[in-house]
C-alpha cells in the first residue's frame, strides 16, 4: 500500500486541477453570455439596416455589393468558407465539420478558405489544398471581416460551413449559402411601411452606391455573426470539456482521500497490533 505522504502529493495536484477546471468553466460560461448578448445587439442593428435596404432596392436580386466590379472577373466557382477553432480544444467537432464539407467538395467547382488554424491543419493532413487561411479572431467584438468579404465578392456564390450552438451540452455543424444567410436574418425585420426613392429622399453620392454599400454591410454583419456563432459553439464545447474534467477531478479527489484515509488507518492498525503484541509478550514474561 502507498504511503499517505505520497498520496497527499497526488491530492494536492488533483486539487489544483479541480480549481483550474472550475475557473476555466466560469470563463467559458461568461464568454457564452457575452457573445449571446452581442449577437442579440447585432441582430437589432441588422434588422434596421435590412429594413432600409428593402425599402430602397428594386427587384429581389442580392448582388453581394459588387455593382462596381467587372462582372467578367467573377470566378464561376462556389467558394467554401470553413470556420474552425484556432487550437485543437474542440477537436472532434472540427473533424466532423471538415469531413462533412469534403463530402460535397469538388476541386474543379470549389475553392476553400479556412478560418481557424485547426481547420488548416486538418485539411493539410488530408492533402486538400485551400486558397487562403485566416486566423480566427481572438476578440469577440469589432471583428474585421473585410478581407473575407473581398474574397466572397470575387465568387459566383459562397457556402459557409460552421459550428452551431444548440445548447451548452449540444453543438452541431451547419452549412449555409451566404445569400440565404443574409436573407434569413432579414426575415425577422419589420416589413417596411414606405418606399425610399429619389423622389422622397436625397441620396449622396447616389442610390446605387448606397444599395451597394448596404449589401456589403449586411454581408459583413452576416459573416461576423457566423464567426461569432462558431465561437459560441467552441466556448460551449470547452465549457463541456471543463465540466467533465471538473467532475472527474472531483471523483479522483474523493477516491484519493479515501485511499489516504485507509492508508493512515492501516498504519495506525499496524502500530496498534505491534503495541498489543508487545504487551502480550510482556505479560507472559
Amino acid at each position: 500500500m502507498r504511503r499517505p505522504q505520497d498520496i497527499q502529493i497526488d491530492i494536492d495536484s488533483t486539487k489544483t486541477l479541480f480549481d483550474l477546471t472550475s475557473v476555466f468553466e466560469g470563463i467559458a460560461s461568461m464568454r457564452i453570455m457575452q457573445i449571446k448578448n452581442q449577437v442579440q445587439q447585432s441582430e437589432v442593428f441588422f434588422d434596421r439596416l435590412w429594413q432600409m435596404y428593402s425599402q430602397i432596392r428594386v427587384g429581389s436580386v442580392f448582388n453581394f455589393g459588387r455593382h462596381e466590379l467587372d462582372q467578367q472577373k467573377i470566378i464561376d466557382k462556389e467558394l467554401y468558407i470553413v470556420i474552425t477553432a484556432e487550437a485543437g480544444l474542440s477537436g472532434y467537432i472540427d473533424q466532423k465539420l471538415i469531413g462533412w464539407m469534403l463530402k460535397s467538395y469538388n476541386k474543379d467547382k470549389n475553392d476553400i478558405i479556412v478560418i481557424g488554424h485547426h481547420g488548416a491543419i486538418l485539411l493539410s493532413q488530408r492533402g486538400v489544398a485551400f486558397k487562403k487561411y485566416f486566423k480566427l479572431p481572438s476578440k469577440d467584438q469589432n471583428i474585421n471581416v473585410t478581407p473575407i468579404i473581398k474574397e466572397i465578392q470575387m465568387y459566383a456564390s459562397t457556402v459557409v460551413f460552421y459550428e452551431t450552438y444548440v445548447s451548452l451540452a449540444v453543438q452541431d455543424v451547419k452549412q449555409i449559402s451566404l445569400k440565404a444567410a443574409v436573407e434569413e436574418q432579414g426575415k425577422d425585420a419589420e416589413k417596411p411601411d414606405e418606399i425610399i426613392n429619389e423622389v422622397t429622399y436625397i441620396f449622396e453620392p447616389s442610390a446605387f452606391a448606397v444599395v451597394d454599400h448596404l449589401e456589403r454591410s449586411m454581408m459583413y454583419i452576416a459573416v461576423s455573426q457566423v464567426i461569432l456563432e462558431s465561437k459560441l459553439a467552441q466556448y460551449a464545447s470547452r465549457f463541456q470539456a471543463m465540466t467533465i474534467s471538473h467532475d472527474r477531478a472531483a471523483d479522483t479527489l474523493s477516491d484519493l482521500t479515501l485511499t489516504q484515509n485507509r492508508a493512515k488507518r492501516a498504519i495506525k492498525d499496524e502500530r496498534l497490533k505491534e503495541v498489543i503484541n508487545g504487551m502480550r509478550k510482556a505479560s507472559h514474561v
Binding site: Q38, Q41, S42, F45, F46, R48, L49, M52, I56, Q141, N142, I196, T200, Y201, I202, F203, E204, P205, A209, V210, H213, L214, R216, S217, Y220, I221, S224
Partner: protein, 104 residues
C-alpha cells in the same frame, strides 16, 4: 429687487428661446455598441460632397459618410459639443429621426 426682476426676465426669455430651439432625435450605433442616443440641436459630419450640418426638419436624406469627426450639439449654447471619430458609416434622416450606422 429690480436687479432680481431683470435676472428673472433674462432667465424667462432664455427659457422661451430654448423651448423655441427645435430638437430632433439622434442615434449613433455600431453592431455591438451604442455611442449616442438622445435629443440634439444639430449634428455635423462629412460625406463625399463635403462637410454638412443637420438641423431639425431636415429633408429625408441617405448618405455614406467619409472618415470624419461627427459633432453633436445638444440644446444650450454653453455646452461643449460631443465629438465622435468615425472611419465610415451610413446616415439616414427620416422625419426628424437621424440614425448613423457605424463600422459598416
Amino acid at each position: 429687487m429690480q436687479l432680481n426682476s431683470s435676472n428673472n426676465d433674462q432667465e424667462q426669455s432664455k427659457e422661451v428661446s430654448n423651448s423655441k430651439t427645435k430638437l430632433f432625435h439622434l442615434k449613433i450605433y455600431a453592431p455591438f455598441n451604442v455611442y449616442f442616443d438622445g435629443e440634439v440641436k444639430s449634428v455635423s459630419a462629412v460625406n463625399s460632397t463635403g462637410p454638412f450640418d443637420v438641423l431639425a426638419n431636415h429633408h429625408n436624406f441617405l448618405t455614406l459618410l467619409n472618415p470624419c469627426d461627427i459633432t453633436i450639439r445638444k440644446d444650450g449654447d454653453k455646452e461643449v459639443p460631443i465629438i465622435i471619430k468615425i472611419s465610415k458609416g451610413i446616415m439616414q434622416i427620416k422625419k426628424n429621426d437621424v440614425v448613423v450606422f457605424l463600422d459598416v
